[in-house]
Symmetry: C2
Subunit: 380 residues, 2 copies
């Protein structure tokens, strides 16, 4: 049964978190609200705009709350995410990966028709021509942002000359609107030491500033400079080159970002709003037990999840196949009992969210709402 049929009757019932079928993806609404407000206040104080990234949450409801708190729009990793959020009424959408294949370009033009302020990145001259031709044929003007490779070699124009050539190509095509540039230092977001992260971003920002100056000299100064993330938002805001920040994970946090000293103050800036409740389904081995959450309940590429509550301190989680995980208690301690509830922190929030159809929204131990993961699985 889907989450709504299973659990809708529990909404508002005091203590109903303990009655949920598990595994279940939870959002602590108090913490989510604090995280959204904290980042909105930060942006206002630093005079920088927010266009939060929805690849983290894929949720129209959370996007609406971010916009209500002042965000100018929402970033999407893929066209399919943007379509799903546009269907839910979200505007100011920016697609942060190139849309290259013919069927995707057709859909992009349809999207631009109903959500005219949508922008998409380009990093190749052939793609500029393809987008311009499709937009011209459809009679729409498509906003495009030049993606610049910060050295990660994932997407982006490879050097300053390539950026200028793209800008000139875009500016010369009336069916395209040259909206600005994107520069996303993905690898830098998770450098755990604040001083190291700061030094590496300062170096990268000099490179970016050089490109912006070059564009300005050619009369192609970018109106939008978009990028940044939860890990570098303070550094980027202080450097003042970005006009808007694509922060994503701050809404939820996860183990990876909890390990980072985000603002160089040693204390956590954002709180762990995203959690997984699981239950013990087998307990026949002294010092360990098996819970009902495994490879299909959280992403695995960032290591095992820390245990937030439900097991004695020092207990560890180990993946035990598709649907199970082992909790091992420290030497001499007892593992949780059969049926007991255990709360985990997702190791990496984005791909974990993508496994669930719904968020179970709690305040304290009470289920207060169920929100669909609007763009779950929309990777195309």
């Amino acid at each position: 049964m889907d989450a709504f049929r299973l659990h809708q009757h529990l909404i508002g019932q005091q203590g109903s978190r303990g009655l949920l079928n598990t595994p279940v993806l939870l959002v602590d609404l108090d913490l989510l609200e604090r995280n959204i407000a904290e980042m909105a206040n930060f942006a206002a104080a630093h005079s920088v705009k927010l266009r939060p990234h929805s690849k983290t949450h894929k949720s129209a409801e959370i996007a609406r709350r971010q916009i209500a708190a002042g965000a100018i729009g929402i970033c999407c990793a893929k066209l399919g995410e943007a379509e799903a959020l546009a269907d839910a009424g979200i505007r100011g959408l920016h697609i942060t990966s190139p849309v290259v294949a013919a069927p995707g370009i057709d859909r992009l033009i349809d999207l631009a028709r109903r959500a005219a302020d949508t922008t998409v990145v380009v990093d190749h001259g052939d793609n500029v021509i393809a987008l311009a031709n499709a937009a011209a044929e459809a009679g729409v003007t498509l906003g495009v942002v030049i993606d610049i490779d910060p050295g990660m070699h994932r997407t982006g124009a490879a050097d300053p000359q390539a950026v200028v050539a793209l800008a000139q190509s875009i500016a010369g095509r009336p069916s395209l609107r040259y909206a600005g540039v994107q520069f996303y230092c993905g690898r830098h977001q998770h450098i755990e030491s604040y001083p190291e992260r700061k030094a590496s971003i300062e170096e990268r920002t000099q490179y970016l500033q050089g490109i912006i100056d070059l564009l300005a000299n050619k009369g192609l100064k970018p109106a939008i400079v978009t990028g940044s993330g939860t890990g570098t938002h303070l550094i980027d805001a202080e450097l003042g080159v970005f006009t808007e920040l694509q922060v994503g994970s701050y809404v939820f946090m996860d183990r990876q970002y909890n390990d980072c000293d985000i603002r160089g103050q040693g204390n956590p800036t954002f709180e762990t709003a995203l959690q997984i409740d699981a239950r013990v389904v087998s307990a026949n081995t002294p010092g360990m037990c098996t819970i009902d959450a495994g490879l299909k309940s959280m992403s695995t590429e960032a290591g095992p999840p820390p245990i937030l509550t439900g097991a004695v301190a020092g207990s560890t989680f180990r993946f035990m196949g598709d649907e199970h995980g082992a909790i091992t208690a420290p030497e001499g301690a007892r593992a949780p009992q059969l049926g007991a509830s255990v709360t985990l922190v997702p190791p990496h929030c984005d791909p974990t969210v993508n496994l669930y159809d719904a968020y179970h929204i709690v305040r304290g131990n009470t289920l207060v709402d169920i929100w669909p993961v609007t763009a779950r699985g929309r990777s195309r």
Copy 2:
């Protein structure tokens, strides 16, 4: 847009595989049919029954084809999978993990009411009592199978005495039907060397046979002995202790099982029916390119996917975040061009399938159908 809205118009159109939006999960129907027939013929020749495991495919359509080929029912890892398949009319369901929590037991009883031949495993005396009480109260008879731990310490009764105690407890409760025992050697399935896999399974089967003999001596001979998997099905069938095999991955195969010498003959017994098509979305770095499939398009815990077609031999894949992967060509060779299609082999089929809402069914390069992943995300 969902797969059906996006691609339904391409069904039956010659060569339409190349027109699909990517990333896309594909099933080569010719290969799927051959795999299903091969395993059905094997079981018939060895006089053993098949109850294939749906944790691999989560598909009512594939379950129906397995049953049409002679399977006596379908295994499910979780109650939610069993509910989804029961809703689609599948019967002979066996749930291979314990159902322990109160909300789950309520749903299990509902399921047993509409699908009376459903069985579930138990591995703890408290759970036997809870199931018996719930079944008695509802006036249903619930079939239960004792899960025996093969030494993996995931689920299962810990020793022969515990198995006998559970059998006696079940036999003494009129609301329960003692159906048999389960013994699943999960870790052994993927031992790559056939002789090593055989030796370890022979040792484990002696342990199982001892328990069966003990039960028989107490008048509690199990009617069903269920277990096995794609990796050990030949060995288990020849040993002749199992009455039915829970084979799963054989329908699709994946990198993990392709690395195993499944029947000790050196040649692949089953074919790689499950594939992912992706496309190059960025190509600005010599010798490499970026495709539109990453952490959200395949499971990561079994390593990177091999590249089946679309890149020169010796090219490798590396995960590049949520939505992207890098293809690196061997020294001196060219990487695929912008927009080019690349076909990948899922490293581990089960959690990869769980990321997709639909299978795109192809014969050759033509889309012939779209099947929902019926029980996607049904981990509770």
